[in-house]
């Protein structure tokens, strides 16, 4: 029974991982800007699925709400407002070969580091914390950073509104 569920969870993990990697490659190299945006949505939802796998269901909800709901919508609006009809600017820059080299090097270093250090991490069962515990933790130990983060978000949104507001000299 346990073997069976392990096999199923393994298969689900690889399914999600393949989905995420394929969608991320779609975001990185797609020629169609809407396709890239929808691939981003698929990748974000896949990561939310992995969060559920990792017993962090609150994070999965936050991921779906903020990334799936808000971020993709904002980016779709940005695509609409910037009128990307000319797909010429979707081509890669001239530095793309160097970017491939840099990313392959970074990936090799990361994987060597991960595999080299993984012996010190024994296989354990997943830790689980309830949403209640997380909320109590956030609003007691981390109350001031939490409020500061909300202040940062508010200031950034006000700054964004001020930045796109038409100034009187320019546009009238």
């Amino acid at each position: 029974m346990i073997e069976n569920s392990n096999l199923i969870s393994m298969m689900l993990f690889y399914l999600l991982a393949i989905t995420i990697i394929a969608s991320a490659i779609g975001v990185a190299i797609s020629k169609n800007v809407m396709l890239a945006c929808l691939s981003l949505l698929a990748a974000l939802l896949g990561v939310a699925g992995l969060f559920i796998f990792l017993a962090a269901e609150f994070m999965a909800l936050v991921q779906i709400l903020i990334y799936g709901g808000t971020v993709v919508t904002v980016i779709v609006f940005a695509i609409i407002l910037t009128n990307l009809n000319d797909f010429s600017n979707l081509k890669s820059t001239k530095q793309a070969p160097f970017a491939i080299l840099a990313c392959a090097g970074a990936l090799a270093c990361l994987i060597i580091g991960i595999l080299g250090s993984s012996t010190s991490w024994p296989k354990l069962e997943l830790n689980y914390i309830s949403i209640t515990y997380l909320g109590r933790y956030l609003f007691t130990d981390w109350a001031i950073p939490f409020e500061l983060a909300s202040l940062v978000l508010l200031i950034a949104l006000i700054g964004a509104v001020l930045m796109v507001k038409p100034s009187n000299e320019d546009d009238k």
């Binding site: 990185a28 910037t82 890669s92 970017a99 515990y133």
Partner: protein, 105 residues
């Protein structure tokens, strides 16, 4: 059973794909998309480290709290980034990063 290593390698691959997109794209919006992929790789790494950590419950909550802050900062960054892109588009009628060489010496 999937272990910590699987998640870490997945997030390393995701990070490098996002890095490639951010380095090789011409359109500023697509650079923003790739940066979101990189944020997600970091979040996945943090959550998996928290879930597999051998420490107390508080450490798990710490990992998830950091992800809450990362998501907050990512949302602020995205709002400002889109605002900057719209402003650049209004001024130059293009968001091709090759044309944005005002500061080039």
């Amino acid at each position: 059973m999937t272990g910590l290593v699987h998640y870490q390698i997945l997030s390393a691959i995701l990070f490098c794909i996002g890095l490639y997109g951010a380095l090789s794209r011409k359109s500023a919006i697509l650079i923003l998309l790739s940066i979101e992929i990189m944020f997600n790789a970091v979040n996945l790494n943090l959550i998996s480290l928290a879930a597999f950590s051998q420490f107390s419950q508080e450490q798990v909550a710490l990992g998830q709290s950091i992800v809450v802050f990362v998501i907050t900062i990512a949302a602020a960054e995205l709002a400002l980034g889109v605002a900057i892109i719209l402003r650049i588009y209004k001024n130059k009628s293009s968001i091709d990063t090759d044309n944005l060489n005002l500061l080039k010496w």
